[in-house]
């Protein structure tokens, strides 16, 4: 510690300015809170007012505390100043970019971007050139020159790219926007907060405020994390809380939402089971059809149970989604498990097969679904054609007369969901195969050798060694596939027309969420659906986790 060094007069002056600045900031922030509630602002929703005043009050409070601490030359004052000024600086920088229409300007860039793409190719070539030195044989000499040449090529290509996409006009436009009052204010804000940051950041100020040595790491840590954390809070954590709030409102995305308590959840969960006296009894005879719709009925001889719900579509969607998960997950995981065991043998060509199996999982679901739509075509599609060929072959072989079913894959309510299941299983199988393969390669080979010595067959080894030791991977594969399958949407949306499928046979939870939130704009209700979906996913994962824990005795 350098406590024997007296701070010089300049540092004292700067710190006094910093203290006064904290005071000014406190006053301004407090004034801001008052303005928010004075009614002078144009129409601002309540939650925004609350949020804004909360942020400002916290800033004002900490700023006042910081002023005192700076006066006492406590290191805490420096920390508070740095945090507040940094956040304010970032806010001003984002404001500047926003006023300069940089974010919106991406649209304008997209217009000219096509012209620039070839020049990005030059940049890429330059990069490849500069990274080639690692492989060059004559290290000392060519390394330097290749790297240099590559770098120059990159710079040259990038300049050409900027020129092609019309950067000059973009920059001029940006500056023009900044020259207006709002722009000038935000730029001034950036400068002021930047200067304020400097006053307490500089080494003499730090010394004068008795900072500890680990402070550098603390500040760097938060500074490095800050871009990520700020984005995470704004675009993830914040919306997550907001979603929870919306689920208790009748939000429609454009008007001020009204708090309606648990109404959304109540409507979703409002269900009724009633007994039926005959299979043909109508639903209106046993339930109030102003509230309830029939979802399904189950008959046991002459009597049965009718399942009615206030929101029939939700329960149909839940039924379809769970059915989807129940089939799509095993259809994807079981073949993956078998294939990975085959691929794990050290035969030649396994990498080739692995690459082919992996291909479907990198292709866009939308494109894949379009392809399958034509494969499923009932009259000219290949799937029915193969079925026809198979049946003909079988009939000829055994002299049978099996009738060709000519399945209407997507327009028959019995097969529509199955068609979606097949696509999803096909697309995720290769990904899961690679995951299993990685798990298999972690199993020590000695175990198999020992088992072979003990006279175990391949089948015994699979059940006795592979499966138990693969349990963690299996848990991971099954739970990620399940979470993904619970959110099935894109395949259904593209494959089915309308997306709900014939007689609502392919309406899924996410599809229903989309329909509620973005076609009927009942966004509060959609948020409630999202939370119910989350709880179902969470529950399923928890169950799998429990089972995995039970079966992981083998591991220890």
């Amino acid at each position: 510690m350098s406590e024997h060094q007296k701070p010089d007069t300049l540092t004292n002056l700067i710190l006094r300015i910093a203290m006064i600045w904290r005071g000014v900031f406190t006053v301004v922030a407090a004034a801001g809170v008052i303005t928010v509630w004075s009614g002078r602002l144009p129409e601002v929703p309540l939650w925004q007012k609350i949020l804004l005043s909360l942020v400002l009050s916290i800033a004002a409070g900490f700023s006042a505390f910081g002023a005192v601490e700076i006066a006492r030359r406590n290191h805490r004052g420096r920390m508070i100043s740095l945090v507040i000024d940094y956040l304010a600086f970032v806010a001003c920088a984002v404001m500047t970019l926003n006023i300069g229409e940089v974010f919106i300007g991406i649209d304008a860039l997209a217009e000219t971007f096509g012209r620039g793409i070839p020049y990005l190719g030059i940049v890429l070539a330059g990069y490849l050139l500069s990274s080639m030195d690692e492989y060059s044989v004559r290290k000392q000499t060519s390394e330097q020159s290749l790297k240099q040449v590559g770098r120059w090529v990159m710079i040259f290509g990038f300049i050409l790219f900027l020129w092609q996409v019309d950067t000059i006009n973009g920059v001029l436009y940006f500056l023009g926007k900044l020259a207006q009052p709002a722009g000038l204010i935000s730029v001034a804000g950036m400068l002021i907060f930047g200067a304020a940051l400097w006053t307490v950041w500089r080494q003499p100020s730090a010394a004068a405020m008795h900072v500890k040595t680990n402070h550098e790491q603390v500040i760097s840590g938060w500074l490095f994390l800050s871009p990520n954390l700020i984005g995470f809070l704004i675009f993830f954590a914040g919306p997550l809380l907001l979603s929870f709030y919306f689920s208790f409102t009748d939000s429609d995305a454009f008007n001020t939402p009204n708090w309606i308590g648990l109404d959304n959840y109540a409507k979703i969960l409002n269900i009724k089971f009633v007994t039926l006296s005959s299979p043909t009894q109508l639903a209106k005879e046993v339930v109030d059809i102003k509230i309830y719709d029939e979802v399904g009925r189950m008959m046991f001889g002459s009597w049965g149970i009718l399942f009615a719900a206030a929101d029939k579509f939700f329960w149909l969607a839940l039924r379809n989604t769970l059915t989807f998960v129940l089939f799509a997950v095993p259809f994807s995981v079981v073949p993956a498990l078998i294939l990975s065991n085959v691929l794990n043998s050290k035969l030649p060509g396994m990498k080739f097969y692995r690459a082919i199996y992996f291909m479907p999982s990198i292709a866009a679901v939308v494109g894949i679904s379009l392809v399958w739509q034509w494969l499923y075509n009932a009259t000219i599609g290949y799937i029915n054609y193969f079925i026809t060929l198979g049946i003909e072959f079988w009939n000829n072989l055994f002299n049978l007369a099996i009738v060709d079913p000519k399945i209407q894959w997507v327009s028959d309510e019995k097969t529509a969901l199955f068609a979606v299941i097949l696509i999803a299983a096909w697309q995720t199988m290769g990904f899961n195969t690679v995951l299993f393969l990685a798990g298999l390669q972690n199993i020590p080979g000695e175990l198999y050798e020992a088992a072979t010595v003990d006279g175990a067959g391949a089948w015994d080894k699979f059940w006795g060694i592979t499966l138990p030791l693969l349990a963690p991977t299996t848990f991971y594969v099954v739970s990620t596939t399940t979470i993904q399958a619970m959110q099935v949407f894109e395949q259904v949306f593209i494959l089915m027309n309308p997306p709900e499928g014939p007689n609502n046979s392919t309406i899924t939870l996410v599809l229903y969420l989309y329909r509620s939130g973005f076609q009927n704009f009942k966004q509060g209700y959609a948020s409630a659906i999202a939370w119910v979906l989350f709880i179902v996913i969470f529950g399923l994962t928890l169950i799998q986790f429990q089972r995995q824990r039970q079966s992981s005795i083998y591991e220890s």
Partner: protein
């Protein structure tokens, strides 16, 4: 002897294994081949049954005396198959028979036959209780009144070597002579039809910016988590970990409202900015950096390097594989995403469509031309496949490692 049978057994089992692998490989690759093949077909070719894999074209031949090249068909000439050119189609042929002997039919062109007794006063005869019109049919120079039994449309086929030889036969039932040949112009057509070029550049721009942005925030954040000690770090990290399993659909409604608030609906910015912050990516980078030996870093710090310099000069150059892994993941995610663009970009605003949205529009617009739809699908699917072929190692091995660690 024992070794011999062991070898045989192994050969059989290997054969079986390869059979299984190849079967699944065919299942996996078939839709891609179908997509590519169909995207080069003509619309008529796509609707053919039974379906054929390779795109085929009708063969045409220039024949003397005809302006246009004529399409070739297989026809039966004296029990032998020959290639004839279709000179004239839509020739209406009637099958006529005398009213008292319906089996003695003759074929005549409708235009060659006149109604018996003139068009206004055509004579009729009753056959099997039904009244039938009578026609004058020229039978070897003799005019015989006959009734029309049936009527077909045929084409006039001529021998290309000898245009005087003519054969009449049903065009639809004749097999056309075809040769394998693609129509790459399907691709230019679909690009023009659906503004695909703009969608392609939009997708490229969005993907590049998301990948770069996410790499920067993840590397910097992951470094802070892995290497810097500061109060609150572990709490934040647990928080990050917890959110990895929260499905994206949870956020779609509030994120949409946030975009409405900022004014980014219908803007490409909405497809980019929210996605450059990734808890999962940060987690992956942290896992990577934490395996790095600390000593190198400490030595550099003592030499007076700043944290940013250490990151830039030491850690990043040594982490190219990890960065490539993360970049490939993000690339796929950004390139293939559909739900969020569907929500945020208006269907009518085609200027800001990405490929998946363009495909969604194309699906309705070209529903009767699968060749165009599948050409569009190929435009969306092939770039990631090319990236996959070049960066296969990163793809496959990164998936493997994510599973083992996670």
């Amino acid at each position: 002897m024992k070794i011999q049978s062991y070898r045989l057994l192994r050969f059989i089992s290997n054969f079986f294994l390869y059979f299984l692998l190849t079967f699944f490989a065919l299942v996996m690759i078939f839709p891609f081949l179908y997509m590519l093949a169909t995207s080069f077909k003509t619309p008529a070719d796509t609707f053919r049954y039974p379906p054929r894999m390779l795109p085929q074209n009708a063969v045409t031949l220039a024949v003397d005396g005809y302006d246009e090249p004529l399409p070739l068909y297989y026809v039966d000439v004296d029990g032998q198959q020959a290639e004839y050119a279709l000179a004239k189609s839509n020739i209406k042929i009637g099958t006529y028979a005398p009213a008292d002997n319906l089996t003695a039919t003759v074929d005549r062109r409708l235009t060659e036959v006149k109604p018996t007794g003139g068009a206004t006063n055509q004579q009729k005869v009753t056959v099997n209780g039904k009244e039938e019109k009578l026609f004058d049919v020229d039978l070897d120079g003799q005019i015989v009144p006959m009734i029309l039994v049936s009527q077909t449309t045929v084409g006039e086929f001529i021998d290309p070597k000898n245009p005087e030889t003519k054969i009449f036969q049903n065009v639809r039932l004749s097999e056309p002579v075809e040769s394998v040949g693609g129509h790459p112009e399907n691709y230019t057509e679909v690009i023009e039809l659906n503004n695909m070029a703009r969608a392609l550049t939009n997708t490229a721009l969005v993907t590049i910016l998301v990948v770069l942005g996410q790499l920067v925030t993840s590397v910097v954040g992951g470094y802070a988590f892995a290497r810097l000690k500061f109060p609150g770090r572990d709490t934040v990290f647990v928080f990050y970990l917890g959110t990895v399993m929260i499905p994206f659909v949870m956020l779609i409604v509030p994120l949409y409202q946030l975009m409405v608030l900022i004014g980014w609906t219908d803007r490409l910015a909405a497809l980019i900015i929210p996605w450059i912050f990734s808890a999962y990516g940060t987690f992956l980078m942290r896992q990577h950096f934490i395996t790095f030996p600390k000593e190198i870093e400490e030595a550099a710090l003592i030499d007076g390097a700043s944290r940013l310099q250490i990151l830039r000069k030491i850690l990043i150059p040594a982490s190219v594989p990890a960065l490539a892994t993360q970049a490939t993941f993000t690339f796929l995610y950004a390139w293939n995403s559909f739900f969020w663009p569907l929500v945020i970009i208006n269907v009518g605003n085609e200027k800001n469509h990405v490929l998946t949205l363009a495909l969604n529009v194309l699906r309705g617009r070209a529903s009767d031309t699968p060749n165009l739809i599948l050409a569009g699908a190929a435009i969306a699917i092939i770039p990631p496949l090319i990236v996959f072929i070049f960066g296969q190692r990163f793809f496959v091995e990164s998936v493997a490692s994510s599973g083992v660690k996670g």
